[in-house]
Symmetry: C2
Subunit: 213 residues, 2 copies
């Protein structure tokens, strides 16, 4: 098709570094974007934005995300390994600019909560700080680190152990209406989006086209 | 907060299986949703929907997704390992219902392209079938399979080697405007959403709050 551009490996290799990062990051589609809250043993709090959260399994409830240990800031990873706990907090319209700002390279002494004005919230029985302004959030126990030797990144797997969601967003079948809760999505490295539901679709079976729920 | 429900590990364990799957899948936020196209050595085509695509790196351009080898259909994984190639195709409003339908448990003899009415498209020099109706799509070379022993899933890592995107969606800085291309996002297992951009934000630096680009 004439209005489509075809890009191959050699074209990717010739792109300027930041151009390529922006281009390749866009291809993955709309991504989950969350703030990960941690605290080290001395009580120093840390908050960082991540856009690589994936679902690994429901029983046990597992999720994972990618970190680049070779790139600053790596305080999130250090705190997770040191203490075994972290929180995952959805973004919403009120906080996405502050959330984006946590990606600035603050030094180790600076709490991104203080630097960006986001408030900490501690839920009973959980070590790490949540983001008070976040509506959908959960605490994780560190389970496993898998190193991806191809490019020095790591997959960090955690078990979801404590969840806080708006009661009126939990539907009868267990589905959580995160659009109603105002959760956002990201594309590329810096583009934030709200969503509009097209439909929920029925469980797919051969010879029966899906219907809207 | 009184309008928030707190759910702990023991509550998760007591949930009915489908309720828990729907609930836990919702927590991960809005996710990338794509169709993965493959073909085996005999030429049999396969198409399946996945919602766990993540960006691994830009140089080399790597992405990954999760498969459950213990659960049918596993034809996608078999074809990837047998041939070394697969395509990743974004959804849009015109095709999301057909895309969802590919998750029905068709037998090995059935092509999900034929069963759902989606059309195959072959791009010069690439082995696996693309989805003709998809606007943003790319071909991958299989690189590595990492087994996650915790729950029997696998992370499949691929190198992006050939990309097709609408020319007018590529911006000056390399960002691809996938919202303009009509790409969708998913929440939970079955809820499809279009998006509305709030803003792109400038690269974050300490002591300077991000601005809209």
């Amino acid at each position: 098709m004439s209005d489509h551009k075809i890009i191959r490996t050699e074209d990717l290799e010739q792109m300027e570094t930041r151009y390529r990062a922006s281009f390749v990051n866009s291809l993955g589609g709309f991504k989950s974007v969350v703030l990960i809250g941690t605290k080290n043993k001395e009580g120093r709090e840390n908050l960082a934005i991540f856009n690589s959260l994936i679902h690994i399994g429901a029983n046990p409830a597992l999720c994972a995300f990618i970190v680049r240990p070779d790139v600053s800031p790596r305080h999130t990873l250090e705190n997770i390994i040191e203490t075994g706990f972290y929180t995952i907090n959805h973004l919403n319209t009120d906080i996405y600019k502050s959330a984006h700002q946590t990606s600035a390279r603050y030094d180790r002494e600076t709490s991104e909560f203080e630097a960006t004005g986001l408030e900490t919230e501690y839920l009973e029985g959980f070590f790490s700080p949540f983001v008070a302004e976040s509506k959908v959030k959960f605490g994780c126990e560190f389970v496993q680190r898998i190193n991806i030797e191809l490019n020095g990144t790591s997959l960090i797997i955690g078990k979801i152990v404590q969840i806080s969601v708006p009661e009126d967003c939990i539907l009868e079948d267990g589905f959580v209406d995160i659009e109603k809760a105002g959760s956002l999505t990201v594309s590329g490295l810096d583009s934030y989006h709200s969503t509009s539901r097209l439909a929920r679709l029925t469980y797919a079976k051969p010879n029966k086209f899906p219907e809207e729920i």
